[in-house]
Symmetry: C2
Subunit: 330 residues, 2 copies
Amino acid sequence: MSETRFDVLGIGSAIVDIISRCEEDLLASFDLVKGCMALTSADKAKQIYDRMGRAVEISGGSAANTMAGIASLGGAPSFIGKVGKDKLGDIFRHEIEAIGVDFHGGRKAEDLPTATCLILVTDDGQRTMNTHLGASTTLGPDDIDEARVAAARVIYIEGYQWDTPKAKEAIRKASRAAKGAGRQVALSLSDPFVVDRHREDLLTLIREDVDILFGNEEEIFRLYHAGDLATAIEHVRGAKVLACMTRGAQGTVVFDGTTTTAVEAFPVDKVVDTTGAGDLFAAGFLYGYTHGRDLLGCAKMGSMAAAEVISHMGARPELSLRELLLKHGL
Amino acid sequence: MSETRFDVLGIGSAIVDIISRCEEDLLASFDLVKGCMALTSADKAKQIYDRMGRAVEISGGSAANTMAGIASLGGAPSFIGKVGKDKLGDIFRHEIEAIGVDFHGGRKAEDLPTATCLILVTDDGQRTMNTHLGASTTLGPDDIDEARVAAARVIYIEGYQWDTPKAKEAIRKASRAAKGAGRQVALSLSDPFVVDRHREDLLTLIREDVDILFGNEEEIFRLYHAGDLATAIEHVRGAKVLACMTRGAQGTVVFDGTTTTAVEAFPVDKVVDTTGAGDLFAAGFLYGYTHGRDLLGCAKMGSMAAAEVISHMGARPELSLRELLLKHGL
């Protein structure tokens, strides 16, 4: 097997987040489901934005956040995603490169703006997301450089990609290239509604190519139409994947064919904004995984990275996760 | 005299700041003068941006920051400035309206991007600014609605405007309209190099229209070619304006024709980023001035507002200045 340049290569939407605190009734007035992601037209996005208070803009995107986390931990990540030919696109690129991620944007979409996500954070720290996909919908097979894919030990795909029509082919190409090169494929389920919308496609990819599956309890339950944890675990075991089921404050359960490993949530003083919690769990886990740690070690790193990101606004780490690792003796 | 709707109407560049910490040697490698503002071509801006680390984007613009401060204090400000037809323009408008400033953008510039300012903050908290003016250069006389100007007790003009060719006429129109309606005109000198570049124009405006002058020690010294404080004060007194000379950690001196009022700098735990210090001094001072406070009271409010803004990154207040006023019994 040839040498690898990257620990993990992420494929996902390149999004700049616009984050604001809000009252619960704002969610209700736009029929938004708390904790979930909704695709939003330009018109509806404008209506929501007009009702939002002061906001901050921070680069986001699920798989991009995971790659930023791996870079902050000291790993070598790469990211493939499409930005528009605009200032927010420049900002996205700058941010991800500045933290140390190899970024491959391919040809820029000429006429579509860089994707934005209006994130409403309620007082309980929960985030509700409204995404206008813009230029990120142009990701297609041409953007997948097979040599680049083969140069990563693991490729990481976000479930959100099934919402962009051309991305399916791109993912197929990437996962085939990865498997052909003897690499591993990780998948994040992203969102309960994403699972509902694309259940069959996701199950097919899991059956054929996925080695590592990330999802929260609700996403994994919906994927397998499971009503309880034991049934869900049985299905995942049947799929022969290594699965990480995040459970918010209840911590995380990791199970493979034979073993079950549970870790508690890492303590945080105050949950400020849960945006990026799942993304950063995956970052910590995959960093450990590609650096020879056992499952318990990987899960602890994931919990630590998730704890950092929920203690402030925005889905990218503010502190050096590398220094936090050392501080906590991980 | 007809009734006023606004305490202060600001006229200035509508800019989104891109702020990053940096080492001293980055300033040297681009020949940047610490603490000053340089106009930057798109090419040079790109070179600087490529060398910057992780950044945050926060709306800025000198007069716009002052109006945001007045809104945060509970006052009624208005702002005239030009953004481009792009996402950063939407963000600028959203931020200034969300804090409570009446925003008048006029017709959007079709082909120019919203102005950005790359701000490099060194470890001593000093900021060095690189502005790409873009759409903000399109401010012209057509954007000045004389009824709006007449509806403000004070209009506030940033010296930076002399760097944009058409703005001179716009300012002339606004200051004439203000004087004609019996209102007052305030001017901020903005930057030592701005004073050098446009000294004669600034002196003419001061002589003919200005009632209140804001500047730091260096700017006022350069304006009058004064070598010491006594000479500078003598010149300002000759110009028959109320002048506020900010002196960083040494506090502020306010003088009119007869009296001199000195206030100490408001205590801060740590100077994180001095961006916006002068802008927020002006906000506090003008809020007090338009609410019947004496000069000492006005200067204390200015010092308090400046202290808040230098204790965090970005040139807009993070805390409610209204609540801080009450807390400090001002």
